[in-house]
Amino acid sequence: MKKKNIPAGKKALELVRGNAVPIMFVIICAIFIPMAGFSPSYLLNEIITRMGRNLFLVLCLLFPIMAGMGLNFAMTLGAMGAEIAVILVADWQIWGIPGVVLSMILSIPFSALLGFICGTLQNMAKGREMITSYIINFFINGWYQLIVLYIMGSIIPIIHASIMLPRGYGIRNTVSLLNMRQCLDDLLAVRIGGVKIPVFTFILVGLMCLFIIWFRRTKLGQDMRAVGQDMDVARDAGINVDRTRIISVVMSTVCAGFGMVIYLQNIGNLPTYTGHSQIGMFCIAALLVGGASVEKASIGNAFLGVILFHLMFIVAPGAGAFITGDSMVGEYFRVFLSYGVIALALIMYEAKKRMAKSKAGRELAEAQKEKEAAE
């Protein structure tokens, strides 16, 4: 009702305040791009590549946000599930598109199981879902290492020595996926002025977006939104809250598994022990850079975020070198920005929660004051 009376200037200010993070990154990129001195076609090429590589992963964060569970730091679990699948497929020497498809299918049981564990634990720690998912991620990483480093090759048979450590068990630090490399990206790829567009990967991303849009309109999507906004009300209405929350995490990890396979086929090799460690952090930072918050995120946020975040990521070292003469500074700067943007989003989310509370009080007090004055 009030919205109509707000003058245009104030409206613009609101818009700026509401989108402070993306605007800040636009400014940073605008300053850094000329400093870094890359050619536009190089930048465009890089951005397109990175969009194809990361978008799917970023999109899978939307489900837990929808269910009110915040930023899913445990999407890494899906990545680990996919890595195990990829290792097995690489060992079976199934390459090309069949290899990719098989990896995706094979990742489902791993990711789903891990997602289920994660969701269950998060249900036990309501109110601190995020820190719990953050720790789960490290915890499962321990088990992942146990399996890949010790059990694979000794208990789980690994046929090809090429992916094994020389000592006879455990997987090498890098598993080459050369025969799988960019096979999705190259399918239907189009080159426009030297810029390669991985059409098929983008089609997959597009399908994922359509799925999300469609999913929002399903009964389950509606339940998830209800649970996300008020668990008690949803429970009173007969929705199985815990189950719905677990489903949202499982969906997120399974999709993250698919996303990880797409990511790995683009990179062309699997960094066995480090591949997943930063994935969660970068995807979350990217989503937040796109203007998402802990409780609200859209497909648009994901697209804008991936573009801005990776643009910053590409140009920061060059710009750092330009300013300070040391490219390391730029590299640290981009890490600082990724951490900083997550910290900022979390702070704004908590501060907003408190502000909403005190605001209700203030309004009441004012109304009473007015009444008093009238009396």
Binding site: A125, F138, L146, M328, E350, A351, K353
Partner: protein, 396 residues
């Protein structure tokens, strides 16, 4: 709906009788009840299953040592040594847990304060034991300042402390990664040789405060045996870093004493029930702020003590490597997200460092697989996870 639920609570059985027996047994562990349970059950219940498993695991490692040709005394010396490095860092968790700020995942912030102290001390040309004193003195204002700012922030985001602390810690750490490169440090022992600017990732403390506390009143049984001309057998390998231990004992005693003062009592009450504390006239925000500053200062001192034992200053991403082990250690010691004591610190540090030192050697000799890293991750993260998912009983 929340009001409605409170109403139900009021009608719940426990409110309607004065008889103790109507209270569900899971909610309390009174003297009589402990006698009803078998002693073993009672012990498990009060000690906590994960802690029991960890203690058991460590005991198995100890028992295994003679069979796998690992020298027990060397191991014990190592554990004592590592305890003396880490104990103060673990102690730094206590104030914030007491005031209800939760587990301090923002430890890197405190460590940065310590690092500022040590690097500036060397930069200003202090050497020998004096450089340690100077590092403590320089780190203190930073700890108060940064800790104060951190406390201010945590007061504005009550309820979300742990997650935000994690990322604030990361942000500050990566910010200082830039600073280590950009600040005009020039001491030749610290900067890169070629460019003569920017700090090296690892700085040796030889000639500064390496072993400065550990060496103080050090008891080296081998040396004693040599001097007295007697043989102490295996015991000769035992070395006790008395000075470091004394400093820890002093700081732990001060912490214990603080918790027995009026302000310390208020801090515990704030952590136990902030609304109660407010109704009793306590300034909750100020108390929390004090606890954060105390934690930050202790963390800063903790890293200095760690450095003097370890012999090196580690910069850049290194502060992050200490967060999880420290948090895990106090939890293994029996602390929960909102309760911690000095004994938790001591027990936890011994257990955790015990596993850290014993697993590589013993396991390696036993099964010829070095699984220590993996075991450490699973144990520490599992412990944190257990603490986070444990239902907070009673309080609200």
């Amino acid at each position: 709906m929340s009001n409605k639920k409170k109403d139900y609570n009021l009608n719940s059985p426990s409110k309607f009788t004065d008889e103790m027996k109507t209270i569900p047994p899971a909610r309390r562990l009174t003297a009589q009840e402990k006698t009803q349970m078998s002693p073993l059950q009672a012990m498990v219940a009060s000690y906590g299953l994960p802690r029991l498993l960890i203690t058991g695991f460590l005991l198995v490692l100890f028992i295994l040592t003679p069979f796998v040709d690992v020298d027990l005394v060397t191991q014990i010396t190592n554990i004592i040594n590592r305890f003396s490095w880490n104990a103060v860092l673990v102690l730094a968790m206590v104030p914030m847990i007491h005031s209800g700020c939760g587990l301090n995942f923002g430890l890197p912030l405190a460590i940065i304060c310590g690092l500022l102290g040590s690097t500036l001390s060397i930069q200003f040309g202090f050497t020998g034991p004096l450089s340690f004193v100077a590092a403590v003195v320089i780190a203190t204002p930073f700890a108060i300042l940064l800790g104060g700012g951190y406390g201010l922030l945590l007061n504005r985001i009550k309820g979300g402390e742990m997650m935000i602390a994690t990322y604030v810690g990361f942000s500050v750490m990566s910010f200082f990664c830039m600073m280590w490169l950009l600040l005009p440090y020039s001491a030749p022992t610290m900067v890169y040789g070629l460019s003569a600017s920017g700090l090296r990732p690892t700085i040796s403390l030889d000639g500064f405060y390496n072993q400065v506390l550990a060496g103080f009143l050090e008891i080296d049984f081998g040396e004693i045996a040599g001097k007295l001309g007697i043989s102490l057998g295996a015991l000769e390998k035992l070395v006790i870093p008395t000075g470091s231990l004394l400093v820890f004992v002093l700081l732990a005693f001060l912490m214990w004493a603080f918790l027995h003062t009026k302000t310390g009592t208020a801090m515990t009450a704030v952590g136990s029930n902030p609304t109660f504390a407010r109704a009793a006239g306590i300034n909750v925000d100020r108390t929390r702020m004090l606890s954060v500053i105390m934690s930050t200062w202790l963390g800063a001192i903790g890293i200095l003590i760690y450095q003097q034992g370890f012999g090196f200053i580690q910069l850049y991403n290194a502060p992050n490597n200490l967060t999880m082990p420290t948090v895990a250690a106090i939890l293994i010691g029996g602390a929960s997200v909102n309760k911690a004591s000095i004994s938790n610190v001591i027990i936890g540090t011994i257990l955790f460092q015990g596993i850290v030192t014993m697993t590589p050697t013993v396991m390696n000799s036993a099964i010829h697989m070095d699984m220590s890293e993996v075991i450490r991750i699973i144990v520490s993260q599992g412990m944190i996870l257990y603490a986070l998912t444990r239902k907070v009983k009673g309080s609200k």
